[in-house]
Amino acid sequence: MTIALPTNRDENWRYANLRPLAKARMERAPASPDRNRKPLDRKLAGFDRWFFSDGHFVVSDQSPEARIQLLDARKAGESFAALLDSDLATAGADFTLARINAARGDEVLQIELPDDSPPLKVELVYSAATPAANGTSYPRVQIVAGRNTRLQVVEHQLTAGDVDVAVNAAFDIALRPGASLDHVRLQDCSNAAAVFDTLVAHVGEDAAYRLRTVTLGGLTSRSTAFVRLAGRGSRCEFTAASIANGNQTHDMFAEIEHRGAGSVTRELFRGIANDRGKLAFNGKMIVRETALDADSDQSLKTLLTGNGAEAAARPQLEIYTDRVRAKHGATTGKLDEQMLFYLLSRGLDRPTAQALLQWAFVEDVISQIEQPELRREIENRMLTRLHAVSSLSGLLGERA
């Protein structure tokens, strides 16, 4: 079976660097010798942890729990298709990668919380080690959060070493009325990796989906997200940060569709392009006729610090009703000279002052990550990416 990849001619893929994925072997990556390695030695307090290597399940320290299962991909796909609106799950070039994932992957992690069941916390660690020439990883997660349930999911997408892996991940989410999902995603793969993912979320009445996603790694990275606020009073907080160094390309497309009356979106993106890094965030907000009194707010900001760096922050609005509040703002700029001079005038050296301002630029995203140990880990990884580990080493210790 051959499914053609999107190209830069496709409207929503203009900024993506698809070449490394096109060159990768499309067959599922074999289980690698690395698969018994656990790159994270700490577990988040109270979280069940599932560890995957090259998309293959390795180990779980899950407490006895029937709500998380590893399923055969085809079986899971069939059961899940009924949950999502069929047009959302199958339409267009934007779902090409998800379709490839479904066709090539053969394991699905399914998290299903029955209505009114107790809260659940799950940590998913995906480590990839197989070079792209030998195959692609296809992680897939499906979540159904029943009525009035609360779920927290933390995802780490990593590589074992400086390897040019190819990852094509898919995440399907259905939130029943009153359910809430706090979802944190960290992608810190090697700078040679090609990391692609497709996320679909269907948010029911009075349900809330909160996504905090941090993209640091990959020669090329592309996240495609479709969130449908289907129910009355449904809510989405879509918060993303990205740092592209060297010749990295990070591209993100997020379409959030308001269908339910009084549905609310808060979208925040902060991206830094250093060196010759390229960043794009395309935030499309659709408000349907049925979404009376919908409320959406987009704030997209990118910072260029390298001479060859490029960034595009693009808010799009499609509004089909008059009763709506839709606010959006997008900026692309350089480091604030006044702030820089202020810090220099206090004796900070220039690299430290610059790194500190970059840090400050993304901090309002990171500060929204509630788990302290996770936030600390992400902050440390960010400092590494800002080449500021030594100069800002005291920064984390000085937080209140």
């Binding site: 604030d336 000279e337 006044q338 702030m339 001079f341 202020y342 810090l343 220099l344 005038s345 206090r346 004796g347 900070l348 050296d349 220039r350 430290t352 002052a353 500190l356 301002l357 840090w359 400050a360 630029f361 993304v362 901090e363 309002d364 005291g394 920064l395 210790g397 000085e398 937080r399 209140a400």
Partner: protein
Amino acid sequence: MSLLKIENLSASAGGKKVLQGLSLAINAGEVHAIMGPNGSGKSTLSYVLAGRPGYEITAGRVEFEGRDLTTLSPEERARAGLFLGFQYPVEIPGVNNVYLLKAALNARRKAQGLQEVDAYEFLQLVRAKMKLMQMDESFLSRGVNEGFSGGEKKRNEILQMLVIEPTLAVLDETDSGLDIDALKVVAKGVNSLRSANRGVLLITHYQRLLDHVVPDYVHVLARGRIAKTGDKSLAIELEKRGYDWVLEVA
């Protein structure tokens, strides 16, 4: 000993000549006040001393403790002991006060050949200085000047100065926007820094700050140079008569 020696300094900002042959010497232990009408070059002088980009020295010399100040970068000037208290301190969300205070102090200490302060020692120091400035400790964890009122920003400038303990403090209209109580607190902070081996250059529009921080010298800056010098009584006279009479004789 002369801390700061400015000779025939001319400088431009945005292509416009602002300072035109300014000369001034500040010795250790002295407090100098510079007053002058709007546009006379007061803030330009402070920025030129601190090395702000966009302010170009076209003639003259500036020595700080015998070193040619103009060859130093802004951060080198700060580490050498020059402090600028900004007229409009910038807000830097995401960088918290306590980090900046510690980084600034340690940069200064490193330049002095001293060890970095440990966390306990630093906190003790900062708490004492905050008490003096009547600032709540909650300010430490807030972003630098983020959401601060005008008065809080000025107090924060003085707090930074007290923690860093510079050799020469240049305070650009630190009194502007302060109510009388805040003015007294700021003045108390400035006075606490006065010592035989330090100097202060107060830039101000009004005489009222000088009631609380009594200067050794008062200068009137007009048309880019020092037009008149006197003691505190000159400030009182300026308050009564305005600047026109100085400009006429300049």
